[in-house]
């Protein structure tokens, strides 16, 4: 989901940019040596995923994989997605600089929310797959709703836009849910301690040493 330049009004852009700056600051404070490599890899995956077009449903949509980054990284997803979107704007001409704040907020906001909603499920490998699916699908739904909300002022009204966007993103929700389920399930099976160390980056003590 890339909102183009020139669609949104300056107050919407400025508010979203401020919120994104806050989220990025929180994320950078939680970044440490341990998490740097996963963050870089997930940023790279997010950056490239936008090129994969999902030819299902009424309109053309591309992979986001915000849910994967959000579930695994928590607040650190903000700087990761910001960098991914910045490079997409620079190199692919997707989105743009003035809309960088609002696009980052729309993708990273729901992703971080998914982290807090579903990280409790990461403790057991079986439920980790479920967490992966829910986070993958939920983040796409959240992003579609957030995009509709930011378009409220300019487009055909919130409900119409939201219905169109959610409908267009339904197949993507399924695809992203499956991809995220596959990745998180695999990690939970083979390297559960990694999920624990990453899951802790939300700051809460919810994930203990078990798993």
């Amino acid at each position: 989901m890339h909102i183009s330049e020139g669609v949104l009004s300056p107050p919407v852009l400025a508010t979203a940019a401020l919120l994104t700056a806050g989220g990025t600051w929180l994320g950078l404070r939680r970044l440490d040596d341990e998490r740097l490599l996963p963050v870089a890899v997930l940023t790279a995956v997010f950056f490239v995923a936008s090129l994969v077009h999902v030819p299902l449903g009424p309109s053309s949509v591309h992979l986001l994989l915000g849910g994967l980054a959000g579930l695994l990284l928590g607040w650190v997803a903000f700087p990761a997605i910001l960098v991914g979107l910045l490079l997409q704007a620079l190199l692919f001409q997707f989105g743009g600089f003035t809309v960088l704040g609002v696009n980052t907020l729309n993708v990273a906001g729901p992703a971080v929310l998914c982290h807090y909603l579903f990280r409790g499920l990461l403790r057991s490998p079986r439920r980790a797959s479920l967490a992966g699916f829910l986070a993958g699908a939920g983040a796409v739904l959240g992003t579609a709703l957030a995009a509709a909300l930011s378009l409220t002022m300019t487009d055909a009204g919130f409900l119409t836009t939201a219905r169109m966007l959610v409908l267009a993103h339904l197949p993507l929700m399924l695809v992203e849910g499956l991809v995220t389920m596959f990745v998180v399930g695999f990690l939970a099976w083979t390297r559960p301690e990694l999920l624990v160390s990453l899951g802790c980056c939300g700051g809460g003590p919810a994930l203990g040493g078990e798993a």
């Binding site: 020139g6 890899v41 790279a44 591309h62 960098v83 997409q88 692919f92 997707f94 378009l151």
Partner: protein, 196 residues
Amino acid sequence: MQRSFLLPCVLFVLLLGAPQWAQAHKVICNAWYEAGLLTVEAAFGDGSAASAARVTVLEAGHTVLEGTADAQGVFQAPLPAALQGRTPDLLVVVDAGQGHRAEYALSGQDLAQEVLPGPSVPTAGGPATAPSWSGTDAEQLRELIREALRTELEPLRRELRRAQHSEPGLKEILGGLGYIIGLAGLASFWLRRRKP
């Protein structure tokens, strides 16, 4: 820890190795003026037509022409009376809904060649040929040549339009990955300095 990220790495190499599915999602807008009609073509980055996109033509911020693209993503209309005889720079804005928008600047010079072709051409002709054509014949001939050229050049123009909006390729992808590795290196450096 490196091994545990095998899967995202594999996933990512798969994505990288499949540039044939690599299709963008941005709006492409082209506009040109010929045969008395302003034509605007709106498409998504993957080549599919942006049907029912709203097309607005602006002159210095004021709307002079408005309409909706058809199922092929094409909008055609004669220039409005307000523009007759003048050749201002125009801005074509395509809004495909859901936050998808693109602009195309139509320069006044392009417009001038189509709208006011008359006076500039005959002066170039030598005095030897000029007397043998009466005014209306010359005008007809000019129209014929223009039409023939338009048909001949159309494929070339289309190719040019396509080339201008080329999809991101391996070069852009690898460049982006290089930036990410570089930023990770910078972050690592910064983290190490923060806690000595």
